[in-house]
């Protein structure tokens, strides 16, 4: 009974380990995100915020709210750049 489940359990542990090692916390290369009312909204494009260490910000409409940009759906992955506010309108 014990040996019957050993290999499937090992396969499962191997798969779980692989999931953790391939987890990409660096960011979504396809697009950036903003946090709107506690929900991550995709911007539909990868913004070029330039080089720098200042948090990248975006404005979606004239005189509209300015949002901080995130590299992925992760509140700890703020996109950094030269500090210019990107205007998407």
């Amino acid at each position: 009974m014990k040996t019957k489940f050993l290999l499937p359990v090992l396969a499962m542990i191997f798969a779980i380990g692989m999931s953790f090692t391939s987890l990409d916390s660096a960011g979504d290369p396809n697009q950036d995100y903003i946090l709107q009312d506690g929900v991550f909204m995709p911007l539909g494009e990868e913004l070029n915020c330039g080089n720098g260490s200042i948090v990248c910000r975006v404005q979606l409409e004239p005189n509209g709210q300015i949002y901080e940009v995130y590299d992925s759906v992760n509140p700890s992955v703020l996109k950094k750049g030269n500090g210019d506010i990107k205007k998407l309108y």
Binding site: K4, A11, M12, A15, S19, L23, D28, N74
Partner: protein, 160 residues
């Protein structure tokens, strides 16, 4: 008779290996989706084909994947697991074909390294696993032991 037994053992081994491969595939895909769940949910929401199903798909897919992988733990349920894998991979492949034909700008709602594949590569990947499931189903049917038939009365009759 010995040669037949040897072939049956090989087939059983192949079915076992296929089962373990599916455990790895489905657990890896499910856990990868759950570890980055918010991103997966956003990606599902971006698909015009399944966005109306929203959270049902976001939660349902990993749950189904893990459930199918658990079937492979039990030898009696392996065939059911193989059929379930075949149908799930068919559904995924059908979705990719629809995406390729109607919307190629949707990011892949996949888990782990599978997300780095292009849509066409992903389709080939899925078809490969679909064929593997079919192979497992075929071998499972072939390895069924013949029912023991007591031929002694027949033999005694012949001897008379």
């Amino acid at each position: 008779m010995m040669a037949l037994k040897f072939r049956t053992t090989e087939k059983n081994l192949m079915v076992e290996i296929i089962s373990y491969l599916f455990i790895v595939l489905f657990v890896y895909a499910a856990v990868s989706k759950l570890l980055d769940f918010e991103q997966f949910r956003v990606q599902v929401g971006q698909s015009p084909l399944i966005n109306t199903l929203g959270d049902y798909v976001a939660w349902g897919v990993p749950v189904v994947e893990i459930s199918i992988s658990l079937l492979f733990f039990f030898s009696k349920l392996r065939l059911i697991g193989l059929w379930a894998s075949f149908f799930l991979m068919s559904i995924f492949s059908a979705y990719i074909i629809l995406v390729l034909n109607f919307a190629d700008a949707i990011p892949c709602s996949c888990g782990g390294v599978i997300a780095s594949l292009s849509w066409k590569e992903h389709l080939v990947f899925n078809i490969g696993w679909l064929l593997l499931a079919l192979l497992g189903i075929f071998l499972s049917h072939k390895t069924k032991e013949p029912k023991n038939i007591d031929t002694r009365p027949f033999l005694i009759q012949k001897m008379k």
